[in-house]
Symmetry: C2
Subunit: 290 residues, 2 copies
């Protein structure tokens, strides 16, 4: 048993549901850690918004999450990680993890020059060039190609199965120019995309490795918490608490698919309450499960 | 020439781009009227949000639009019209028009019992039952069937052509159960849907009349302004001014397709400034055309 034990929760946030794939990866790797999650479902999606707007929303969210006294914050959203992570890192009193650098590292570790790395992501993430920059910071000679696939988020959020012909057609549309280039790996640069993993893999073929930034991030979080002596020594399963800015019931229903386990309890907190010194959370009024 | 002349603008708002199809219809019918438009692009879409959230956002928008001293306000968004129009009507000092009642009226006027009216719309509009209620208020014996088509908004916003195979597949998916019922008319219960008009019409066949709520609303606005003696007597083309809560450049680029004419000038106003007594609008800093 570990002598030091840090029972503070890990805070995770995303524009909506996508970050739950990161929570799933964290649960697999760190099953004893408590996790609090915030999904900004009143203002989703972030991927088509400007940097300034995404930064403002993220700051409000981090202010809220600070009330949970977390040991660290995970920006489980590629758009946030790509365009404003450094601001959040410098402003928050606890470590802030993004999903871009871990994903970039995993891509670089798989294969070598001149193997091509392809990154598929939202418009904002692609426009930010964050993955390319993170990959080149590790290996400046690795060729990178990026492709925005904006429809994927909507297909996943609207509950389309990855085996739906509409999804297959969308995959073919976005990836046909990528597949011709025979990349060694394709980075899933959006936390929704793991929900399409099997269909993407079937289209790209066995020779292409899919890099799930979420699970790479969970590994990074584990290593860092271990180095900090900040892992929990609890022997029971960690708790999960979910907060959303709108539509807790919808989050609960669709979220279970993302999380891979039931989303039992979702509390609503309005966007304008996020920055309040002491946000009003009245579970009895706002729980989706009530 | 009309003796009375009301040069105040018509204010129009929507969650994003869709309302521009209503502006297009207003321009055709009332070419001399000045129009100010607000698109809440920082918080789009509304169709998957709760009533409470949509009402709050709409109130903030109407507070902002009041600074333009409009002669009337058009909620060019079916979700807003369906779930919170009565609140806005009672709170605003000028007439507020929605798109649901005009669309329902046009549907009832076409055909008769037992002809079926089909309504296609967002999740929130369908869940509100607003079209069915508005149709039954006019003719309680008309059968109505409703279908939520959530992907349509995303396909249009992401710039997919209505002749794209993905769009055709989505139309077939949502409407195949509708087409079997041989409706006499299909109400386009979302202001994005007129962008898919030709493809919907091709799928549904010549025997089905498509009701565009936007153009029905323009007719209602014209009749009401005429009755109020509030039409403009200007002989020149009316001006157009656009405000959005995020991403003016994107609005400008995609918006021109919706409007059917160039979107020349778009000013950004942040969501938190909407409710300010005197919002800060600095065109030199925020114009997309700059």
């Amino acid at each position: 048993m570990n002598v030091s034990s840090d029972r503070r929760p890990i805070a995770v946030f995303d524009s909506g549901l996508g970050g739950l794939t990161v929570v799933r990866a964290l649960r697999q790797r760190l099953p004893h850690e408590d996790i609090v999650y915030f999904g900004d479902t009143a203002r989703v999606p972030y991927g088509s918004k400007t940097r300034e707007t995404v930064l403002r929303f993220s700051r409000e969210t981090c202010t809220f999450l600070q009330h949970m006294r977390p040991k660290c914050i995970v920006a489980a959203c590629n758009t946030v990680s790509a365009i404003c992570l450094s601001e959040l890192e410098s402003e928050m009193p606890v470590p802030v993890f993004g999903v871009v650098r871990p994903g970039a590292r995993a891509a670089v570790e798989h294969g070598q020059t001149p193997d091509l790395i392809a990154v598929i992501a939202t418009e904002a993430t692609v426009a930010s060039n964050a993955y390319q920059a993170a990959i080149h910071a590790l290996d400046a000679s690795r060729p990178v190609v990026q492709m925005a696939c904006p429809l994927f988020v909507h297909l996943v959020e609207e509950g389309f199965s990855e085996h739906d012909p509409i999804v297959e057609l969308a995959i073919e549309r976005y990836l046909r120019s990528i597949v011709r280039l025979s990349p060694s790996s394709v980075v899933l640069g959006c936390t929704h995309y793991p929900m399409l993993r099997d269909a993407l893999s079937a289209y790209l073929g066995d020779g292409v490795r899919l890099i799930d930034s979420g699970s790479c991030t969970a590994e990074t979080v584990e290593l860092r918490l271990k180095a900090m002596g900040a892992l929990s020594s609890a022997e029971t399963s960690g708790s999960l608490h979910f907060y959303v800015s709108d539509h807790p019931k919808r989050f609960q229903t669709i979220g279970s698919r993302f999380l891979g386990e039931p989303v039992l309890d979702v509390v609503r907190i309005r966007p304008e309450e996020l920055s309040a010194v002491a946000p009003t959370i009245d579970p009895s009024l706002t729980r989706a499960s009530a």
